[in-house]
């Protein structure tokens, strides 16, 4: 794993997305608990999109598993 110069901006955004992802997880639990399943599935959808965005940000920051 390696980083690139100027990658801190990307990683800061990724960190913010991680916080949003945790909110989504909380919403999923809420949706399941209170039988609001459309809320749960919407939160799952946002969570997956956030994961995709994080993968892109990590790549742009140079944080990859490649040599």
């Amino acid at each position: 794993m390696k980083g690139q110069d100027g990658s801190s901006g990307y990683l800061a955004v990724a960190g913010f997305l991680v916080v949003l992802a945790l909110v989504c997880v909380a919403l999923m639990v809420y949706g399941e608990w209170f039988d609001r399943r459309l809320v749960a599935s919407g939160a799952l959808g946002v969570l997956l999109v956030l994961y995709a965005a994080m993968v892109v940000l990590f790549r742009k920051a140079g944080w990859t598993a490649e040599e």
Partner: protein, 391 residues
């Protein structure tokens, strides 16, 4: 005029790639994976379709109620239904993007006509499968679509009545109609995999799956759409009623919008004409390779005494035109003396591209009209030619 339009669209497509690469790493460009994305959505459709199928009752009395039961009472049933519905739209969008990109970038000519034709069949069968999915709900929209389809089929000369009976399972809507619709939904969906085999059979390295980032994004988008705009039925179909309007799905039901201005028969004729034009696009290119300044090089030939059975050409040929077979006798060269396999060129698939020649380190393949001596002659001719004037 037509060529100029295609040339402009090609430039626009390539410029779009450049813009995307400014925002995303090059291997994340979604337009490189439109075929893989279509496969992803097809897989989602099959999985969600199987789950929905468990609850569906194909009868005039029970179809609507079973869909409503799935939507309201089955845990996450509304989500499965929504994902199935939006994955169908996304699937068609991915196919259309794939089609237009390959059309605009000239990837449909000559050796690729097989991919183009199979792709057109995939598009037609997919669109028909999506359309029959709307009928299964058996609400007012399904009733109106059935009525318009029957009118369109009846207007077909000679076989119109027969087509209506095939479509409805009788001369009119009856007890076998919904099971027939279910078959017309599931049956063509299964043939999609046969068509996919045809689509891939001549390709060595097809991108059949998008990168994980697009899998995550696509799945996420489907769940978001499902939650924001849950799939819902209209009023239940009433025997003898003639509903007038319906919520339009522009991806699958656009031919029915034409029925506002055209008789259903003419709308059907327009769709058939569009599909027929799509099928012949690869054959509308008039220039032969020679007319475009490309020399016919002849199909690749294996020089059997040199082939070592190393399989490099087999893996490199993008058209699946080389097969490895057990070698019936040893090669003559030292390297080929102990070979176990021998390369064989499938003539009907070879496009004379020469990639296998570059792949082979043992001089065991050649293009009969581009031998070593031809290449040397061209180099010598080039060396003798006067240097281009420089300003």
């Amino acid at each position: 005029m037509y060529r100029r339009l295609l040339s402009t669209l090609q430039s626009a497509t390539l410029r779009l790639d450049t813009w995307i690469h400014r925002a995303l790493p090059q291997d994340f460009n979604p337009l490189y994976y439109t075929g893989g994305l279509a496969n992803l959505f097809l897989t989602i459709l099959v999985v969600s379709g199987i789950l929905i199928f468990l609850y569906y009752e194909p009868s005039l009395e029970g179809a609507y109620a079973s869909v409503e039961f799935l939507t309201r009472d089955v845990p996450y049933g509304v989500v499965f239904r929504g994902v199935h519905r939006y994955a169908a739209d996304a699937y068609l969008v991915a196919i259309l993007l794939h089609l237009f990109r390959n059309w605009f970038t000239d990837r449909y000519r000559e050796a690729r006509d097989s991919q183009w034709l199979s792709g057109m069949f995939l598009l037609v069968v997919s669109a028909f499968t999506g359309f029959t999915g709307y009928l299964l709900v058996w609400d007012e929209r399904a009733q109106l679509l059935t009525s318009l389809t029957v009118q369109a089929l009846q207007s077909v000369p000679l076989v119109g009545g027969w087509l209506v009976r095939v479509f409805l399972g009788g001369p009119g809507v009856n007890d076998t109609t919904l099971p027939r619709f279910l078959y017309l939904h599931v049956g063509p969906a299964m043939t999609l995999y046969v068509l996919l085999w045809w689509h891939y059979v001549r390709l060595r390295h097809p991108k059949i799956w998008p990168p994980a980032v697009w899998v995550l994004f696509s799945l996420g988008l489907l769940f978001i759409l499902t939650s924001a705009l849950p799939a819902a039925s209209g009023h239940p179909a009433q025997p003898g009623a003639s509903p007038e309007g319906f919520p339009v799905d522009w991806f699958f039901l656009w031919p029915y919008v034409l029925a506002r201005w055209l008789a259903p028969g003419w709308a059907l004729a327009l769709v058939v004409a569009l599909v027929a034009y799509g099928m012949v696009i690869p054959y509308t290119v008039r220039e032969s390779p020679e007319q475009r300044g490309l020399r016919a090089l002849g199909q690749a030939v294996v020089v059997e005494e040199n082939c070592t059975g190393c399989e490099l050409c087999y893996y490199d040929c993008p058209y699946n035109a080389i097969y490895m077979v057990p070698s019936p006798y040893p090669g003559k060269s030292r390297a080929a003396a102990n070979r176990k396999l021998l390369a064989v060129v499938v003539d009907s698939r070879c496009v004379e591209c020469g990639i296998c020649i570059g792949a082979c380190p043992f001089e065991a393949l050649e293009l009969p009209r581009m031998l070593d001596k031809d290449v040397q002659q061209r180099i010598q001719r080039g060396a003798r030619a006067p240097a281009p004037a420089t300003s």
